[in-house]
Amino acid sequence: MKILVAVKRVVDYNVKVRVKADNSGVDLANVKMSMNPFCEIAVEEAVRLKEQGIATEVVVVTVGPSTAQEQLRTALALGADRAILVESAEDLTSLAVAKLLKAVVDKEQPLLVILGKQAIDSDNNQTGQMLAALSGYGQGTFASKVEISGDKVAVTREIDGGAQTVSLKLPAIVTTDLRLNEPRYASLPNIMKAKKKPLEVVTADALGVSTASTNTTLEVEAPAARSAGIKVKSVAELVEKLKNEAKVI
């Protein structure tokens, strides 16, 4: 079966971002960018399914600026077979991205689409669910285990009180949680080989999808800073402060 994996170029998870002085957004100039950590887990899962002989082809897709080709090359170095960049300079909402991905799904006809559960920049946690709605497929969100048998996929999901398993008819959409797997590192030979793998670029306009949004971001501000705390010298002093100063115990 063919598996489609969606990845996103985001600010590296170790970077402490700063809000721009004019409150128009977050300053991303000269900041290290990487593949969203949940997308790495999605790529890893698809590659493992290929290694088990379940997947025949792994196609990786991203929606973003031309620089997002770097993240597609990373996915190719990790084991994806070919890549598609849907080029768009705009900052698109989850719904717009889901619509563009739907156009790619219609063209590629994968049996399984794997996405991360959320991107660490917008923290939306929407795209996979929206893609599932638009395509009419079942969804296995926040997956910690994925097992394919016949024309079904069993997905174990992380839920608030523990874990839940659902069975979905293929084709289906899966979004990854942290515990699904441990992504591998790309080896140098594989990075070199990835440069020769096919990477197709299409524009968002060419897919004939409206990316208009019903949301507008008016302002982005820094969160309120916490006032500086104090260091106590002993457990007794800590208990005394919690009882008499903070009055929380």
């Binding site: 971002v17 996979g128 705390g229």
Partner: protein, 309 residues
């Protein structure tokens, strides 16, 4: 303006997060209706009817909704939701699972995890692991929103007297089925609703050592949480994780034990009223957000703390 709130429940009990979601709806203003989609969830509908500020409860009782499968519940919400100005759900694993599917079916953008209501169409929400706060305006005919429970004080669970109305609509997409679930059993308060949370990190060294935190938590009536490092190392189960990708808590008192304080962990707890850090590394970033910091070996400090509280 009429607002539809999706009840969070397990077919037996109305989850507390619903009360925070109704509080957000009350800030928007207008009539508040609550949808209880489930199977044999009559007690939940009755509980929802008593919630302060709720004017009507819609009860969709059908086998297809028994496990809140999004493929079946989302079409129901989208169909009912067309007549509303806002659709709200708690940003729980259920709410996050279902609501984006509803938004896509209604062809509108969703606003995730709002922490405040500025006006009927403008909301604040954290982005970049809580390192920035975005003010977002929606011009959608139906505004689809998930609510971060810690951003809103819950409304009273009693005092309302709404009518319960049965909804006949049954949607069964037939694309998914429930297989089973494993729920963690705990006698301690629920993590996201606890007044005091005691969390352990990599510094706990192993799962067995968490017994020191459990003992302290039981003395304080607290819930026990964990950092990603502690979960990944297998010390405790996943549903105890506090952080950007785990649970978001904002208790009166958060005690971080053996937790360095990575950005992703802080995203889940930095709105706590009082933060205490106990760590032997005095350079640990957690001390930058802690109101009270104690540089000490946790294996000495925790038993002593348990004795003194």
């Amino acid at each position: 303006m009429t607002i539809l709130v999706i009840a969070e429940h397990d077919n037996k009990v109305l989850a507390p997060a619903t009360l925070n979601t109704v509080a957000a709806a009350a800030k928007i203003g207008g009539d508040i209706h609550v949808l209880v989609a489930g199977q044999g969830a009559g007690a939940v509908a009755e509980a929802a009817a008593k919630v302060a500020g709720v004017s009507k409860v819609l009860s969709a009782d059908n086998a297809a909704y028994a496990h809140q499968l999004p493929e079946n519940v989302a079409p129901l919400v989208a169909e009912l939701g067309k007549g509303y100005s806002h659709i709200l759900a708690a940003a729980t694993s259920n709410g996050k699972n279902i609501l984006p599917r509803v938004a896509a079916q209604l062809d509108v953008d969703q606003i995730s995890e709002i922490i405040s209501v500025e006006s009927a169409d403008t909301f604040k929400r954290p982005i970049y692991a809580g390192n920035a706060i975005a003010t977002v305006q929606s011009n959608a005919a139906v505004k689809v929103i998930t609510v971060r429970a810690t951003g809103f004080d819950p409304v009273a669970a009693e005092g309302g007297s709404a009518a319960v109305e049965a909804v006949a609509a049954a949607h069964d997409a037939g694309t998914s089925s429930f297989v089973g679930e494993e729920l963690a059993k705990s006698d301690r308060p629920e993590l996201t609703a606890a007044k005091i949370v005691v969390s352990g990190g990599r510094g706990m060294q192993n799962g067995d050592n968490f017994k020191h935190l459990y003992a302290l938590a039981d003395k304080l009536g607290a819930a026990v949480g964990a950092s990603r490092a502690a979960v990944d190392a297998g010390f405790v189960p996943n549903d105890m994780q506090v952080g950007q990708t785990g649970k978001i808590v904002a208790p009166q008192l958060y005690i971080a034990v053996g937790i360095s304080g990575a950005i992703q962990h802080l995203a889940g707890m930095k709105d706590s009223k009082v933060i205490v850090a106990i760590n032997k590394d005095e350079e640990a970033p957690i001390f930058q957000v802690a109101d009270y910091g104690l540089v000490a070996d946790l294996f000495e400090a925790i038993p002593e703390l348990e004795k003194l509280v």
